[in-house]
């Protein structure tokens, strides 16, 4: 596949790793192992799938960050969307990633088994088409994800408004990543030496919103693509910054990411959404300014206004260590329920649900080593 296969060539991988090893020699032993956070769950998946962590020396450790929207989806929000999905009038549409995420009384998949009309869609436009085809039903789209996904939701809502499709609404669980990074960088027991930044969030927001990581916290970061060579090249760029005592926001993924982001997408988002004061993240708690909600102009399309689901106060199971894994304080294998009671077919913690979750990645690719 063009623009994919070229970025998987093993001969270049070997060269980049050699270069990383040479560059690491210039970094004092006292600073090692370097702790590099890959913020995005897509990167976590690539790292495990291609065994990138195993190709690297012990002096680099990955910390798997919070950039997987399914992984940070709180139980309370799932309970609320399941309550809406169980309304017999509703066709509830979701991306496939979220259908197995566990709420208090099971997942959306379990709700479907109990008779709710829950459907997996590829695009929010598919949900909008369902609303047009079923004028006597209410179609609710589960809007989940970071800035990558927000423009598609915004464009779909604009179309719904323009065409007066009033049996369509949004359950909004969009969140924004930068306030969470700020939380992780606040003084604490967590030591991070640099960040691989999410390539596709950056394609929308550009590189400017990350400048605080360099300016306020003195940490290097590199906007990174999703193929194995992208990740290795970005790691080399990051290690070079550390060796040369620079801290900048660099862009490895120039074929997709422009410094100013995608203005058309940002304008659509501004037309539809506004910031919410705080949002709850599974495993991390409430984070100020990280939530997104529909603005006044689009209130009529807010599924929570339309259906008023009962507010849930469900908390994560006490035995789950998802929050500590998300912040790099422990590895999935340190959790007592990992691969015993918490498995992909019976996920207790959210990190076991999505293929982008660190626990699911460990389960699929590294389990034998820990048995």
């Amino acid at each position: 596949m063009q623009y994919v296969d070229e970025f998987r060539d093993p001969k270049y991988a070997r060269l980049i790793i050699e270069r990383i090893n040479q560059t690491l020699e210039a970094i004092p032993e006292s600073r090692k192992p370097l702790q590099v956070m890959e913020v995005c769950g897509g990167h976590t998946h690539t790292i495990f799938k291609f065994g990138i962590d195993q190709l690297l020396p012990d002096s680099i450790e990955f910390v798997h960050g919070p950039g997987c929207p399914v992984c940070v989806l709180p139980k309370s929000r799932l309970d609320e969307c399941i309550a809406i999905a169980e309304n017999p009038q509703v066709i509830f549409c979701t991306f496939g990633d979220a259908i197995r995420a566990p709420g208090s009384s099971g997942s959306l998949q379990d709700a479907r088994a109990r008779g709710a009309d829950v459907r997996i869609v590829y695009s929010p436009l598919d949900a909008l088409a369902l609303a047009q085809q079923n004028p006597d039903r209410e179609v609710v789209f589960f809007g989940l994800g970071f800035e990558t996904t927000m423009p598609s939701t915004a464009m779909t809502l604009k179309q719904a408004k323009l065409n007066k499709i009033d049996n369509f609404s949004l359950f909004c669980q969009h969140i924004t990543i930068t306030p969470t990074l700020q939380c992780l960088l606040e003084p604490g027991d967590l030591r991070l030496d640099g960040f691989l930044m999410p390539g596709h969030v950056s394609m929308i927001i550009g590189s400017e919103p990350y400048q605080f990581i360099a300016n306020q916290y003195g940490k290097p970061s590199v906007i990174t693509g999703f193929e194995p060579l992208d990740i290795l090249q970005a790691l080399l760029m990051l290690v070079e910054q550390i060796a040369e005592q620079r801290c900048e926001v660099e862009n490895q993924y120039k074929r997709i990411v422009q410094p100013q982001g995608n203005q058309q997408a940002l304008i659509a988002m501004q037309e539809v959404f506004e910031a919410q004061q705080r949002s709850e993240w599974r495993g991390l708690g409430d984070i100020e300014n990280s939530g997104i909600q529909l603005n006044k102009e689009y209130q009529a399309f807010d599924a929570e206004v339309k259906f008023c689901p009962e507010k849930s106060t469900a908390k994560d199971p006490a035995e789950c260590r998802c929050g500590e894994v998300l912040t790099g304080r422990c590895k999935p294998t340190d959790c007592s329920i990992f691969a015993t009671s918490c498995r992909p077919d019976n996920a207790i913690g959210a990190l076991m649900v999505s293929s982008e979750g660190a626990c699911a990645a460990y389960y699929q690719y590294r389990r034998e080593e820990h048995q």
């Binding site: 623009y3 994919v4 897509g42 436009l125 596709h200 060579l229 997709i256 995608n262």
Partner: protein
């Protein structure tokens, strides 16, 4: 969740609704191009875009892609030179 796939825009199928036909590995699908729209819309035909949940979210900059690969090529050229310099044939090393 945030993954995307590169595809080539092959036709504008419904300009009023900002829909184009995109080819991803031989599979053709309608995608919305509102986020990458340019004037005239037909100028998108032939361009590569990153597709995410049914939307073209960014035009792929083919020149930048070539430059990234060229940087890797030059790393390889340097490795060959170093190997020649140290008397280690690169091909022998690959066999080893």
């Amino acid at each position: 969740m945030c993954l995307g796939i590169p595809g080539q825009i092959i036709a504008i199928s419904d300009a009023a609704n900002m829909l184009a036909t995109i080819d991803v590995c031989g599979v053709k699908r309608q995608v919305n191009v509102a986020c990458v729209a340019i004037e005239p819309l037909d100028a998108l035909v032939g361009k590569w875009a990153l597709v995410h949940v049914g939307f073209a979210m960014s035009l792929l900059n083919e020149e930048e892609a070539r430059q990234t690969l060229a940087a890797l090529e030059s790393m390889q050229a340097l490795a060959h030179e170093v190997d020649d310099f140290t008397g280690l044939g690169h091909s022998d090393k690959e066999k080893a």
